[in-house]
C-alpha cells in the first residue's frame, strides 16, 4: 500500500509539472525577411510578419501577399560542459496580407501562423534537480497564430491591432480501483479529461511616415499567462480489506507559459539603395510569476478498524506540496539594429542583402537559490538576402520573392554560484551557441 501510494504520487507529480515556455517567435522571429533584419522592422514592416512585429504595417501592403516559409534553429547549449539536449526547432510559417479600400481609407487584414513541424505543443516534466534552459527548451514548441486589422487613415499614418491565440491546459485524472497481492484481485479504472482552452492577448501598433525616407514605429504586445492545472483524485482500496482505502486529492497549478508586456519603438531610414533601422523593446519580465507550481496534496488512509495500523501501513511523511518561489526577474531592454542594401537591380530580378544584430540581456538572475532556471545573455547576428522577380506576367500578375537568412547566437558563459554550499545541484556554468536558417517565399499580387 505504501509503495502504491508513493508510485501514484510520484507519477502524478511527474505528470503535473511543466516547463516554462513563451512564444516561439520571441526566440526566432517571424518571416525570413524580418528575421534577416534582426527584427528591427517595427517602423517599416509591411509583409505578413507585421502580424507579430507591428500590425500597423499590414496597411502598407500594395496588394495581396502570401508568405510561405520555414525556419530552423539548432541549439548547442550546455551546463557544466554537458549538452543540455535542447531540441532543435523546425517550423513552417504561413502568412497572409489582404489589403482593401474602405471609402478613402486603405485597410488590410493579416494572418500569421507558425506551426512546429515536430509537435503542436510540448510540455516536459520539470525535475527539480535538473537545471534547464528555461527560455529555449520548450518555449519554442508552441503554435503561434495571430490575426490583425490595419488601417491607413492618412498617408503619413497607419494603425493596426489584433489578437494572438495561445492555449493553456486543464487536465483532470481520476483513478479508482483495488490493489491486491494477486493480479486477479486488482482492479483499476481511470478517467482522464483534458481541455486546451484558448486565451487571447492583444497587440497594437502604429507607423508614422513623416518623410519618404523616414518611418517611425511603435508597437505593443500584451502580456499573457498560460496556467496549467492538473487535478487528480484517487480512491484505491485493498483487496480483502473492505473498509481500508487510500484517498488522494491533488491540485497542481503551474504557470508554464508567460509572455511579458512588450513595447517597441523603432525607426527606419532609407537612402537610395540602403536602409537602416533600429528598434528598442522594453520587456516587462519583472512581473513574471513563479514557475514553481502550487501543489496541494491530501493523502489519507481510510482505516476505521485500525487494520492498516496493525499491518504497519503508514502514509509517507515526505509527501507534501510545493509552494511558489519568487523568480526575481528583471525588466530588459532589447536593442536591434539592421542594415539592408540593394546590390543588384536587373531587368528580371532585384537582389537585396541584409544583416543585423540583437542583444538580449537575460531577465533571469543567476540561479543561486533553490531554483535552477538557467538563462544567459544572448548576442545574435543575422545575415540574409532576397531575390525579387517582378516581371512574371503572364504567370503571375505580381512578383515572387525568395528570402533567406542565417542566424547565429552566442550565449556567453554565465556562473551560477549557489548560496548554500550543500545545495543538491551545486554551482553551475552555462554557455552555448545557436545556429539557424530560414527561407521565405512570397507571392505578391498587384
Amino acid at each position: 500500500m505504501r509503495s502504491l501510494a508513493r508510485i501514484a504520487i510520484l507519477a502524478l507529480v511527474a505528470l503535473m509539472e511543466s516547463r516554462a515556455a513563451a512564444s516561439p517567435v520571441d526566440t526566432i522571429g517571424l518571416g525570413s525577411r524580418s528575421i534577416g533584419r534582426a527584427g528591427a522592422v517595427t517602423a517599416d514592416v509591411e509583409d505578413s510578419s507585421a502580424n507579430y512585429y507591428n500590425p500597423a504595417g499590414l496597411a502598407r501592403s500594395q496588394g495581396l501577399r502570401l508568405d510561405f516559409g520555414y525556419v530552423r534553429l539548432h541549439s548547442d547549449l550546455s551546463i557544466n560542459g554537458e549538452d543540455s539536449n535542447v531540441e532543435p526547432l523546425g517550423a513552417i510559417q504561413v502568412g497572409l496580407v489582404a489589403p482593401g479600400q474602405f471609402g478613402k481609407f486603405r485597410f488590410a487584414f493579416g494572418l500569421a501562423l507558425l506551426l512546429n513541424d515536430q509537435r503542436m505543443s510540448r510540455t516536459r516534466t520539470a525535475i527539480a534537480d535538473r537545471p534547464r534552459w528555461e527560455l529555449y527548451d520548450t518555449r519554442m514548441h508552441k503554435v503561434f497564430l495571430a490575426t490583425n486589422l490595419a488601417i491607413r487613415p492618412f498617408d503619413w499614418l497607419v494603425l493596426g491591432g489584433g489578437i494572438t491565440f495561445q492555449a493553456p491546459s486543464d487536465l483532470a485524472l481520476r483513478l479508482e480501483g483495488t490493489a491486491g497481492l494477486l493480479p486477479s484481485a486488482a482492479r483499476a479504472e481511470h478517467m482522464f479529461t483534458g481541455d486546451l482552452k484558448s486565451i487571447r492577448y492583444p497587440q497594437v501598433g502604429l507607423q508614422l511616415l513623416p518623410h519618404e525616407r523616414l518611418s517611425i514605429g511603435l508597437s505593443y504586445r500584451g502580456k499573457f499567462l498560460l496556467q496549467n492545472t492538473v487535478r487528480a483524485d484517487a480512491d484505491v482500496g485493498l483487496a480483502g480489506f473492505a473498509d481500508l482505502g487510500l484517498v488522494l486529492d491533488l491540485l497542481s497549478v503551474s504557470r508554464s507559459h508567460y509572455g511579458p508586456h512588450q513595447v517597441t519603438a523603432g525607426f527606419a531610414y532609407a537612402h537610395g539603395p540602403l536602409r537602416a533601422s533600429f528598434d528598442l523593446t522594453w520587456m516587462d519580465w519583472s512581473k513574471h510569476p513563479s514557475l514553481i507550481s502550487d501543489d496541494t496534496i491530501d493523502l489519507d488512509l481510510v482505516d476505521p478498524s485500525g487494520v492498516a495500523a496493525g499491518l504497519g501501513i503508514v502514509i509517507p511523511e515526505e509527501i507534501r506540496g510545493n509552494r511558489a518561489i519568487p523568480m526575481g526577474m528583471k525588466d530588459t531592454f532589447v536593442p536591434r539594429f539592421s542594415l539592408e542594401g540593394r546590390v543588384f537591380d536587373g531587368e528580371l530580378a532585384e537582389v537585396r542583402v541584409r544583416g543585423g544584430y540583437v542583444f538580449e540581456r537575460s531577465p533571469f538572475p543567476a540561479q543561486r537559490g533553490l531554483t535552477n532556471f538557467v538563462d544567459n545573455d544572448r548576442h545574435t547576428i543575422v545575415v540574409g538576402g532576397e531575390v525579387t522577380f517582378d516581371r512574371l506576367e503572364p504567370l503571375i500578375r505580381g512578383s515572387v520573392d525568395l528570402a533567406f537568412h542565417f542566424f547565429y547566437a552566442h550565449l556567453p558563459e554565465r556562473l551560477h554560484e549557489k548560496i548554500s554550499l550543500v545545495d543538491p545541484v551545486g554551482d553551475l556554468v552555462s554557455r552555448g551557441h545557436q545556429l539557424g536558417f530560414g527561407t521565405q517565399l512570397t507571392v505578391s499580387f498587384r
Binding site: 516559409g69 526547432l89 523546425g90 534537480d129 550543500v422 543538491p424 527561407t439
Partner: protein, 332 residues
C-alpha cells in the same frame, strides 16, 4: 524563370519535411558533492555487488583509496592492522590485501586502525591512522612502496579516531578526527605537526518533532569517522567536503556530509548522501578530472562489516557497468 520559381518553392516545401525526434532529458547535475551516491554494481567493482574488497573471515572497518591502491583497516584472526590492496584491472574493486602497517610502537597499543591515504603533489603518499594513544602518520614514496612511520608520532595525542586530512594551497593542511563522538579539526604547516583548532565542528541534530513514546528516535548521538576531500565546482569555487557517519539514538548509522569554504565553518547537508541505516566510515576521493566523487564506505551488520563503493553523480558510469556494454572492467 518558371523553373527557378518552382525550384524555390520546392526547396521551401522540402525543408518542411525535416521532422525532428524526441531528445533525452538533460542529465542530472550535482556539483556540490551532496550526492546522492549510487552504490557501484558488480560489473564496475569486479567483486560482488557494490563490495570493492572481499576478504573471507575478516571484518573491514574503513578503506581509503590512493590511486591504484586501497589502504584498508582489516580485522581477522591475526588481529587488526592496516592492509594494502591493488586494483583489479580497471575496476573499482581490489585484489586480496596484504599487511602494510601494524602496531610496532608503545603509543599505538596492540593495533593500528582507520587509515586515510593522502596522495601528495609529488606522488608520494601519507597514510594517517589512529591507534590507542592518538593519531600517527606513515609515509612512502609511492602508494605501493613500503610505509615508514614518522618519528614525530603520535602527531596528535588522545583517544582519537578516524583521521582524515586535506592539503590545499589556500587552506593549508587540515586534519579532521573524531573525539568523544564529535568531529574536531587541527591545523598544520607541514602535515606532521598539528595544533587543534576550536571545538566540535558540527552540532548534533535533534528532529523537530520528537517521537511519541515507543516511536523511532532519530536524534543524533554521535558523529563518527569523517572523510574529507577538497573539490572544485564548475565555477571554480573550492569547498572542503566532509563526509561522516551519524549515529542515531535508535542505534542506526547513516552517512551525510557538510561543506566549507575555509575548512572550519561548515554548512551541514539536510539529507543523507547514502541510503541505508547500516552505513559508516565514508572516505571520498575524486576521479574523472574531479567530476566524479567516489565514496568508500562500510556496511555493518550483526555478524560482519564489509567495504563498498559508491559514486556521484548518479548518472556516471564506471568501466564494466552494464550500460556501457564494452565488457568487464577486469579485462585490460
Amino acid at each position: 524563370m518558371n523553373r527557378l520559381v518552382l525550384a524555390a518553392f520546392a526547396l521551401t516545401l522540402a525543408s518542411c519535411s525535416m521532422l525532428g525526434r524526441e531528445s533525452e532529458f538533460a542529465k542530472q547535475i550535482s556539483t556540490s558533492g551532496v550526492g546522492p551516491f549510487r552504490p557501484l554494481v558488480a560489473g564496475e567493482t569486479g567483486v560482488t555487488g557494490s563490495q570493492i574488497l572481499r576478504v573471507a573471515d575478516a571484518a573491514i572497518h574503513r578503506g581509503s583509496v590512493a590511486g591504484e591502491v586501497l589502504f584498508v583497516d582489516l580485522e581477522d584472526d591475526a588481529g587488526r592492522a592496516i592492509h594494502r590492496a591493488t586494483r583489479i584491472g580497471r575496476c573499482a574493486g581490489f585484489q586480496a590485501p596484504v599487511l602494510a602497517l601494524g602496531a610496532t610502537e608503545a603509543w599505538e597499543g596492540d593495533h593500528v586502525r582507520e587509515p586515510f591515504a593522502l596522495v601528495r603533489e609529488d606522488g608520494s603518499i601519507r597514510v594517517y591512522y589512529a591507534a590507542e594513544g592518538g593519531i600517527g602518520v606513515a609515509e612512502a614514496e609511492r602508494a605501493d612502496a613500503p610505509l615508514v612511520k614518522s618519528p614525530d608520532n603520535p602527531i596528535l595525542e588522545g583517544a582519537l579516531s578516524g583521521p582524515t586530512v586535506i592539503e590545499d594551497d589556500d587552506l593549508g593542511t587540515l586534519l579532521y578526527f573524531e573525539e568523544d563522538g564529535r568531529i574536531h579539526a587541527a591545523r598544520s604547516d607541514d602535515g606532521v605537526r598539528f595544533e587543534r583548532v576550536g571545538g566540535p565542528l558540527l552540532p548534533l541534530l535533534v528532529p523537530d518533532d520528537p517521537p511519541a513514546d515507543g516511536g523511532v528516535d532519530r536524534s543524533e548521538v554521535a558523529h563518527r569517522l569523517p572523510g574529507a576531500v577538497v573539490a572544485a565546482m564548475p565555477t571554480g569555487r573550492r569547498t572542503v567536503r566532509l563526509y561522516f557517519a551519524v549515529i542515531h539514538a535508535d542505534g542506526t548509522s547513516a552517512v551525510t556530509m557538510a561543506a566549507s569554504l575555509d575548512g572550519l565553518e561548515f554548512e551541514r547537508a539536510t539529507t543523507m548522501v547514502l541510503s541505508g541505516d547500516d552505513v559508516t566510515a565514508p572516505v571520498p576521493h575524486l576521479g574523472g578530472d574531479d567530476e566524479l566523487t567516489h565514496l568508500t564506505f562500510v556496511r555493518v551488520n550483526e555478524t560482519t562489516s564489509t567495504l563498498h563503493g559508491a559514486l556521484s553523480p548518479l548518472t556516471a558510469r564506471l568501466p564494466g557497468h552494464p550500460d556501457l556494454a564494452v565488457g568487464g572492467c577486469a579485462s585490460p
